[in-house]
Structure formats: structure tokens, C-alpha cells
């Protein structure tokens, strides 16, 4: 995100800190099985839950999954598993 906002001037040292294990740990982790199932770790809350759209707050961004027959298969305090026919994934920063 910092790259997009232009805060990072492209120096090698700052890029290394962005991809450091500590930085990666706070970023959401997404794992997709084709377009049928997606696991999101680092979920902070559900913003919208419908059969056509599920929006998830991950702290730094909102991830929207659009599709048909979407359903939350498993739900815990920090992760969510969505199944259904996913047609689009949108990251809103």
C-alpha cells in the first residue's frame, strides 16, 4: 500500500522492510481453490453478507467477493472460508 501511495521512494532498504516477515504477518492471507472456495486469514469483521456479495474488513483494506450462491462455510474470530461461484475479487484500500 505504501508503494501505491508513493510514500516509498523505491529505495532498496524500505522495500525490504515492506516484505519483511513482521510486515507480512499483519497483512491478510488469501488462499483460493479455483473460483469455488477462498480462505481469508486476518479478517477483522464481516461488512456485508449476501448470496451475491460478501465484503470482509481486514483492517487495512476491504476485500469484496462477488459471485453466485456465496456462503460462509466456516467462521472464526480471525478467519473466514467462503464457498460458492466467485466471479470477481475487489480490494478497496
Amino acid at each position: 500500500m505504501s508503494v501505491k501511495n508513493g510514500k516509498n521512494d523505491g529505495s532498496q532498504g524500505k522495500r525490504q522492510s515492506f516484505f519483511s516477515p513482521a510486515s507480512l504477518a499483519i497483512l491478510p492471507f488469501l488462499e483460493m481453490k479455483s473460483n469455488r472456495e477462498v480462505t481469508v486469514e486476518g479478517c477483522k469483521g464481516i461488512l456485508e453478507y449476501d448470496k451475491e456479495i460478501i465484503r470482509i474488513n481486514t483492517g487495512g483494506m476491504v476485500i469484496s467477493f462477488k459471485g453466485r450462491g456465496l456462503n460462509i462455510k466456516c467462521l472464526t474470530i480471525s478467519s473466514v472460508v467462503i464457498e460458492g461461484f466467485i466471479t470477481a475479487v475487489e480490494f478497496v484500500c
Binding site: 469483521g45 464481516i46 461488512l47 456485508e48 453478507y49 449476501d50 448470496k51 460478501i54 456462503n71 460462509i72 462455510k73 467462521l75 472464526t76 474470530i77
Partner: protein, 394 residues
């Protein structure tokens, strides 16, 4: 998944719907309160899900905060079953009684199965087991398995190894019978071949040893046939060998069968009294009023055990069939006596002469005051040589 479903059923679950403006807020608050939502299905302004009974109470507060209304759709699980039947104390007492009875009954032996016996009679093994405490209805805790195994092995004698396995309510008795090893003279021990019967030699097949007889010679019982003492032609020194071979001889064997002209014996009268008994462990209930017959009788016992799904239950129907016998005097004529003797001779041929080459068989029926005597003379060709060890003294 099956285990999960069982656990859910034991804890009890509630299917509910949450309707309102922000069901998503309801999900987030529920997660923060550590309330598990099982299979949440979202629609516009509505959420259908399942939760545990214990969590449902806390969910009301969450619903109030998020501005949704909860509606119970269905209730599942044991807590609801118990709640439904809480006034039916008899049902609970029956369930407890059932568990207690099953626990008590499982402490006793319900069936005894014996495997591995061949020549030893099953009845004899069963009697030995019963006398040592292994029987239907015995308390499992009172059986010292290792000691019982040792005692029964010594009691039966012909058992080489046995094991009593108490599995559930069944006692499985596995045994292997001991086989008597024939006495074999070691090949390094010197021996002679001697005649075990008298006869006339027809063939000599000597592999080792010094022949002392030739074909056509008549020999008596115990006579030396092949010597184990040989002499070296060059050094003229004697040395010992382990004699071996066959000496076939024509042997005459006589057997006598006597049949009394008049004899008394117990014969069935045709009358039969049947007694049945229903047995649970060692307690029996008669299933009829038939009395034990008077006088001599032959009793046959039939036992049928109840089996469900391959498991033998301790419920048996024992049937005693008592056949009445009566002492009768039978007179026998010569034709009947001959028939009896023929039958006995045939049995002798099958069971005692099976390993002998019978050349001829002559029979004569004689008669005296009290009985008929049937003389059978067998002419056989058989191996009469038997090994006799040479004892060497220092």
C-alpha cells in the same frame, strides 16, 4: 464429521434466524463474544444459522446490541430430549436400571466356546472346565486364568497347550493336543532285527546288517533275523551296525468270536419321556410336568443356546430325552450267531487288519452247550522285523 455431529447432539443446538437491518454486525459481535455460529447463511436483512444451546442465551444480548430479532426455527439434541421427558421419572429409572443390569450381567460368563480339540472329547473338556470354575454363569473375577489353564492341562493329560481368553462375556478356550512321539532308535545306536511273530519268510529286504535267515525259513517269535554285529573279512574284527530293512513272512493268525446262545441284555422298549428346561445362567425353569422315568433309561441331552448377531446369550433350552430300557432274555440260533460273527469279522478286518496283506481267511462255526464259537484263521503277509537295540556294557 460423525463425531462432530454426536458432540453437537449431546450439547444441543438451536436453528435460528436473525432479522434486522444489520445482520453482519450481529455476526461480528457474536464472534467477539466467542459464540460459535454454525453454517451462517446470509440474505438481505436476514441471517440463518445454528448455535449451541449454551451460547444461545448470550446471543440474545448480542441481538439487542446489533438491532436484530431472533426467531428459533428448530431445536435439536439431548438437552431438549431430557427437558421433554423430565416429568417421566420412570423412563429415567428404566434407563438407569438397564445400564446397571447390563453392567452386572457383563461381569459373568455367558458362553464357553472350545476350539482345537480333535481326539479329546468336548464333553470331557467341558466337564474339566466346569469343575475348575469356567462355566456359564461363573463370575469372571473369580477365575484365575493361568492357574486354571495349568490345572486343566494336567487334568486332561492329552493337552499340550491351552489358553482361556475371557473376551467380553464369552470364554474362548483354545487348545492343542499333544502328540505322542513314537520311540525311534537313533541311527548311530547298534541294533538287531528280531521277529515279532512266528511265520515263514517269503521276502527279505535288508538294507543294513547281517542276515541270519533266508527265504523259506520258518521263524519263531523273538528269533534273530538280522544281526547288528558284522565282521570285517580282512582284519577279522567285529563291529556294530544299525540294522534296518523289512522281513516279510507268511503269518497265520487266529481269532475267536463267541456268541452266547441265551443272553440277557437291556433293550429299548420304545417308550420315551421328554423333559425340557429353560435355563438362564444356572437357574432352570421346567417347561413341562413330565416326571423322571422309573427303571433303566438312556438319557440324551440336547442344548440349544440363543444367539443374536453371532453372540451367544446365557439363555438355553435344555431337552432331556429319556429312552426306557428293559432287561430281556434273547435266545440266538446258529444263523443269527453266524450273522453276528460275520459283522464282527468285517469290523476286525477294517479296524485291526487294515495294514496287513490278507492272503486267505477261513472261518468255522462250532457249537457247545452255552455258546457258538466262530474261529477265523487269517493267512497274511506282513513285516515281522522289529528293531532290538544291542546293549553294550563297559
Amino acid at each position: 464429521m460423525v463425531v462432530m455431529n454426536i458432540l453437537r447432539w449431546l450439547r444441543g443446538t438451536v436453528d435460528f434466524t436473525a432479522t434486522g437491518k444489520f445482520p453482519e454486525r450481529f455476526i461480528n459481535l457474536a464472534l467477539r463474544e466467542d459464540i460459535a455460529l454454525i453454517n451462517p447463511i446470509g440474505e438481505k436483512g436476514k441471517l440463518s444459522s445454528t448455535t449451541f444451546v449454551s451460547d444461545y442465551r448470550d446471543l440474545r444480548q448480542v441481538a439487542r446490541k446489533s438491532g436484530v430479532k431472533l426467531h428459533i426455527q428448530k431445536k435439536h439434541g439431548l438437552p431438549f430430549v431430557i427437558h421433554k421427558n423430565k416429568n417421566r421419572s420412570g423412563l429415567l429409572a428404566g434407563a438407569v436400571l438397564f445400564i446397571v443390569i447390563v453392567q452386572i450381567l457383563s461381569m459373568f460368563i455367558w458362553s464357553v466356546e472350545i476350539v482345537g480339540q480333535d481326539t479329546v472329547s468336548t464333553t470331557r473338556i467341558r466337564q474339566s472346565l466346569e469343575s475348575n470354575g469356567v462355566r456359564v454363569g461363573a463370575y469372571k473375577g473369580s477365575i484365575n486364568v493361568q492357574e486354571t489353564e495349568r490345572k486343566i492341562t494336567l487334568d486332561l493329560g492329552q493337552v499340550g497347550w491351552m489358553s482361556i481368553n475371557l473376551i467380553g462375556t464369552d470364554a474362548y478356550v483354545e487348545l492343542s493336543e499333544s502328540v505322542k512321539v513314537p520311540e525311534i532308535l537313533p541311527l548311530d545306536k547298534p541294533c538287531n532285527l528280531k521277529a515279532v511273530k512266528g511265520g515263514q519268510i517269503v521276502k527279505l529286504e535288508v538294507a543294513n546288517g547281517d542276515k541270519k535267515v533266508k527265504i523259506g525259513d520258518g521263524v519263531a517269535k523273538g528269533q534273530l533275523l538280522v544281526s547288528g554285529i558284522m565282521s570285517d573279512a580282512d582284519s577279522k574284527m567285529a563291529y556294530f551296525v544299525h540294522s534296518s530293512g523289512k522281513v516279510l513272512a507268511a503269518v497265520h493268525e487266529e481269532k475267536q468270536i463267541a456268541v452266547n446262545k441265551v443272553k440277557q441284555c437291556n433293550l429299548p422298549t420304545g417308550a420315551m419321556i421328554q423333559q425340557s428346561q429353560l435355563r438362564l445362567f444356572n437357574f432352570g425353569v421346567p417347561l413341562g410336568l413330565a416326571a423322571v422315568p422309573q427303571g433303566t433309561y438312556n438319557r440324551q441331552i440336547w442344548m440349544e443356546s440363543m444367539v443374536i448377531n453371532g453372540n451367544t446369550l446365557p439363555i438355553d433350552v435344555v431337552t432331556h430325552k429319556n429312552y426306557a430300557y428293559e432287561m430281556q432274555t434273547i435266545s440266538c440260533d446258529s444263523q443269527t450267531a453266524e450273522k453276528i460273527c460275520h459283522t464282527r469279522t468285517a469290523l476286525t478286518d477294517v479296524f485291526y487288519m487294515w495294514d496287513k496283506n490278507i492272503i486267505s481267511e477261513t472261518a468255522v462255526l462250532q457249537e457247545n452247550d452255552k455258546s457258538y464259537i466262530y474261529n477265523v484263521v487269517y493267512s497274511t503277509i506282513e513285516n515281522i522285523a522289529v528293531k532290538a537295540p544291542i546293549e553294550l556294557l563297559d
